[in-house]
Amino acid sequence: MHMTDLLQIQNIRKTFPGVVALDDVSLSIAPGEIHTLLGENGAGKSTLMNVLTGLYRPDRGELLFDGSPVHFSSPRDSLNIGIGMVHQHFMLVPAHTVFENILLALDGVANFFSRRKYKVKIQQVLDQFELDLDLDTPVWKLSIGAQQWIELIKLLVRDCRLLILDEPTAVLTPQESARLFQVLTRLRDQGKSVLFISHKMREVMEISDRVTVLKKGCSLVTLPRGEYDENRLASLMIGEDQIPMWIKPACKYEELALEIKNLSVRNDRGLADLDKFSMKLYRGQILGVAGVAGNGQKALAEVLTGLKEASSGRILAKGKDITNSTAKSSYIAGIAHIPEDRKSIGIAPDMTVDDNLIMKNFNSRAFRRWIFQDRAAIRKNATAKIDQFAIKAGPDGNPIRYLSGGNIQKVIIARELSEKPSVLVALYPTRGLDIGSAEYVHKVVIDGANQGMSTILISEDLDELLKLSDEIVVMFRGRLVGCVNPQTTTREEIGLLMSGEVQR
């Protein structure tokens, strides 16, 4: 036991009814280090974060902060001793200014009476890290990246000594990520500790002083810099030594599956979500779409699947105009959709896995007799799909909301692919999935491509795009700003396109 450690997590155990979420997790965080926590989904990362920030109380084990035991009964206790967290979902009031949001994070009404004092203090923090942020701008006007800075500044103004960041780069361009890493490194040099959670191997390699791998609720191992590489970490996480790589048969794409011509879509505020967007998709092709979240990718997927209407332009599927068809007829035209937010639009949470598997084709002859549902056929379909896609569905009749994220995604994919679509529109299909599940999704996409299915793969994970795509297009503010070949391009090139600084 090192007395010098800022935080020691000792043999923490946390159970929920029927599940052991954390089973004997120990790790320590030294002052002035960037410590990365790596693990598949369901490995217990979020539970551990919630224990550290005082949301959950561990069943067993101890937390030592500065060498003395601490017990949190609420997030406030944890904040008070100096543990702060930047959540994946920001906790900001959109209508208020940056300054007001930061004030809110501070304790006590008194702050509102000494605004000037705090303004100076906050401005100092901004200057120190060379952050260009106008304190009087309302938060809703800011980019996602800028909003994340606010979350971080909130913690710095509070003088938090341990900063926990939960997948902070998921919403950033490579350039913004690089900036964040600079700041984090600087914070480390000032003696702050950072606990960093990420799925992205490259970032882990770049920034971590030490890496702890969590697996199935146990801390497997902590490795200092120099003792790990990508292969080692990945194999620790998924328990295999080989990371499967896909070999794509080189082939020429000739048959046009989908063509988009000058498509524009307006969003609710009257601004363009898609602005004269054009692209071509060939049979069996996997077309990667890169871009920072919020640059029209969602609109592209929604207009293709009939959830949004195009204000101008045309979509041709195999030469047939399907521009303004409803979701139903698009589906018949053979476009399947893996939605971005699986829980909020992909499933009916209270219904069973069986019922969710037929949501798209419940009306087909296979699942009904006259007006009645054919429960036996539905059951048979479910058994087959559960088996084929290795879905952990729990007991029969289990509502789908009790399934893990990866398994829910498998249900959606099984359903979307069940009608043998000619085009698959996949929106961040592996976001939040563990490596095992993500690999599975990749396999499904590649298998589909080999059988002639075309895929529009919208992703923010460049590694995923580079690995799977035959061609990568980059979106910026609703326009197509570039088209690159994954074999020959570089991350930097894509990053520059994503930030809208160059066009190709």
Partner: protein, 356 residues
């Protein structure tokens, strides 16, 4: 020490089944104090309620008479609830149904019993359905909150019916009472055992069966459940949610309309002021108690019938006000909602180790 709530995973099926009954028992217990305060011995009162409502042919027949409109209206309400559409307007839809049936009975001049009854049924079905359908269109087309619309339309329906029976439809031979003329025999449902018990009850059971099959077995029931569970997912799956909202509200209102038909054709044989003493509101409680299942609706409606008839006896023999019955209904709903909360959460006593 302090009390905190902890989320439960899945509660056991036994608990889920028993919870409504336990809630009713607790409500009985609490209502006992109200009775005590009114100077009535609760045990004696409850016993009498049971005897009055179930202890004789007459009592049982009266209970079933009250159960009938409750089943219809509750089926309608629970259908809408199934899709997370809150139809609070069953009361008004009952009035519109009764009004439609009465219009046919008084002015169609049909003499054949079967044709007459069918025509009255259809008129009630249509009018009740359209009444709720207004809220359906507003909701589907312009996202107008259906709670407000259905609730406010109750007043329009009730006052509209009042206008008719105080005005154009008033029975000239009725000594100026607010009621229409009596229906001809062709427009009356069959009565049994020399009581007020009429064939509407069997129609109610039949409707419950149809509703059960509709919800649990048909593709439409499936669609309704998907929309109820997640409207966004339903849209994404290509379901026409707007149409479904209208259809469900129409059917919901139509079922309540049939309750009105049953009341005028089976029981009153005329339209009169206060044709429904709040069945439409009781139906909301029943739909909730029955967990929105058609079979549950039948059982709970019967229990509510017992309560209503028993409550009447309380008024007669103890001079308790009718408000007591409403208070009792309110208590049941209250404890039911509380039980729902306990189904999903568990209370836990923790020692107050508050600080660092």
């Amino acid at each position: 020490m302090k009390l905190i709530t902890v989320k439960r995973e899945l509660s056991s099926p036994l608990l889920r089944f028993a919870a409504p009954f336990i809630s009713v028992l607790v409500a009985l217990f609490v209502a006992g104090f109200l009775l005590l305060a009114a100077g009535v011995n609760p045990a004696q009162a409850y016993l009498e309620m049971l005897q009055e409502s179930l202890g004789s042919t007459y009592g049982l027949s009266e209970t079933l008479v009250k159960t009938t409109p409750l089943i219809f209206a509750s089926l309608g309400v629970s259908l809408a609830f199934r899709m997370q559409i809150w139809n609070i307007g069953a009361e008004g839809q009952i009035y519109m149904g009764a009004c439609g049936a009465t219009g046919v009975a008084l002015f169609s001049g049909i003499e054949n019993h079967a044709v007459m009854i069918t025509a009255m049924f259809l008129a009630a079905f249509l009018l009740g359905g359209l009444w709720a359908g207004v809220a359906g269109v507003l909701r589907a087309r312009w996202q107008v909150n259906e709670v407000i619309v259905t609730l406010l339309m109750n007043y329009i329906a009730i006052l509209g019916v009042d206008y008719l029976i105080y005005g154009p439809w008033k029975d000239p031979k009725g000594f100026n009472f607010p009621l229409t003329a009596q229906f001809s025999d062709a427009a009356r449902l069959t009565e049994f055992f020399d009581t007020r018990f009429h064939s509407g009850f069997f129609l109610a059971l039949f409707c419950a069966l149809i509703m059960y099959l509709f919800m649990e077995r048909t593709v439409w029931g499936y669609e309704i459940k998907v929309i109820g569970s997640n409207p966004k997912a339903a849209r994404y799956a290509g379901m026409r949610t707007g149409l479904a909202i209208f259809a469900v509200l129409f059917l919901s209102g139509a079922m309540a309309g049939i309750a009105g038909f049953g009341e005028v054709a089976g029981l009153q044989h005329r339209l009169q002021h206060g044709i429904s003493p709040g069945y439409g509101y009781t139906a909301i409680i029943i739909a909730w108690l029955a967990k929105r299942s058609a079979i549950g609706v039948v059982i709970v409606s019967f229990l509510m019938g017992v309560l209503l008839v028993g409550g009447d006896s309380l008024q007669l023999s103890w001079q308790l006000p009718v408000a007591f019955v409403y208070a009792f209904q309110g208590l049941i709903l209250f404890f039911l909602l509380a039980s729902d909360c306990f189904m999903h959460n568990r209370l836990k006593l923790v020692r107050g180790e508050r600080h660092v």
